[in-house]
Symmetry: C2
Subunit: 193 residues, 2 copies
Amino acid sequence: MTLEPPPSPTRRADAERNRAKIMAVARTAFAESDTEVSMAEISRRAGVGMATLYRNFPDRRALLEALYTDEVDAVCGATETVIGGSPGALLIAWLHRFFAFSTSKRLIASELLTHADSTSPVFGESRARVLVSGRPLLAAAQRAQEVRGDLTLEQILDMIVAIARIPGDPGYLEPILQSALDGIRLPTAVEQS
Amino acid sequence: MTLEPPPSPTRRADAERNRAKIMAVARTAFAESDTEVSMAEISRRAGVGMATLYRNFPDRRALLEALYTDEVDAVCGATETVIGGSPGALLIAWLHRFFAFSTSKRLIASELLTHADSTSPVFGESRARVLVSGRPLLAAAQRAQEVRGDLTLEQILDMIVAIARIPGDPGYLEPILQSALDGIRLPTAVEQS
């Protein structure tokens, strides 16, 4: 029995670059097109062979799940990258980020639903992770009395997801989101802009 | 050829009473049950014969449409029955009424969709009528600077429908609605309660 040598640092870096390239291309492709983008098309646009594509993502569903999980990671990570501002402003900024996720993931999520059923652990785990990430932000904003205390994070996120699902372009949805987010701030904390 | 005599006032009153009884029973039956309530069950509960039921509503779809239209009439009429209060308070009261309609009509509307397609004129006409009814309320509240000027009635109603569709009991949904409605009021007009 022969042992394969471990991949060299260069080869590992190549592999990571390929994976990142595939993800980036797939993200764009799914965002700009309502129709199913084929794996062949993704391989072509990413400039990687079909073998490389399938080594990274055994099937379309694996690719969709990776994109979805990647987006959830970004939302969860965004609680740390927002710098400065009051606890209320931090929460609101993060909720805007969550809204962007909720609209952008719509296409991926709905496609994922055709490949997995809606009880797929990907969805349930994502919600749990987002809740864990956001809870400290809401608690801090409520402690600072900048945000109303009669809403849970579940209620706030459900409201945002509901707004993200309203049919319409960003110009139609943004003012609705803005209004809804003004509503969660306590009256004394609303700044005139 | 013999002409039938016109119905006597008593018979006409009886007919109206029967129709109202059927509608009331059907409204309750649909509200309390997720399962399809049969026409026979509605006839039994209303205490009218099947012949009377079918004379009023030739089929299940006709009954559902009548219930739906009845609810829309009530929402449209509610702009006139709200008495007193500032223009902003009038609008908010009417939006609460619309929310109640949006949650209660959910069952009827979804059942109606199985009997008619979603492009059924019943839905489009209802939306148009509700918009016509609410527009003067919003205009007055915006003129009084009690409600933000950057939202159209379409946007406000879409937000309320979206919230009404969030899965959850009234105790879960009410605070979300309250928060969203606080958001459409201008900061200076939010009263501390």
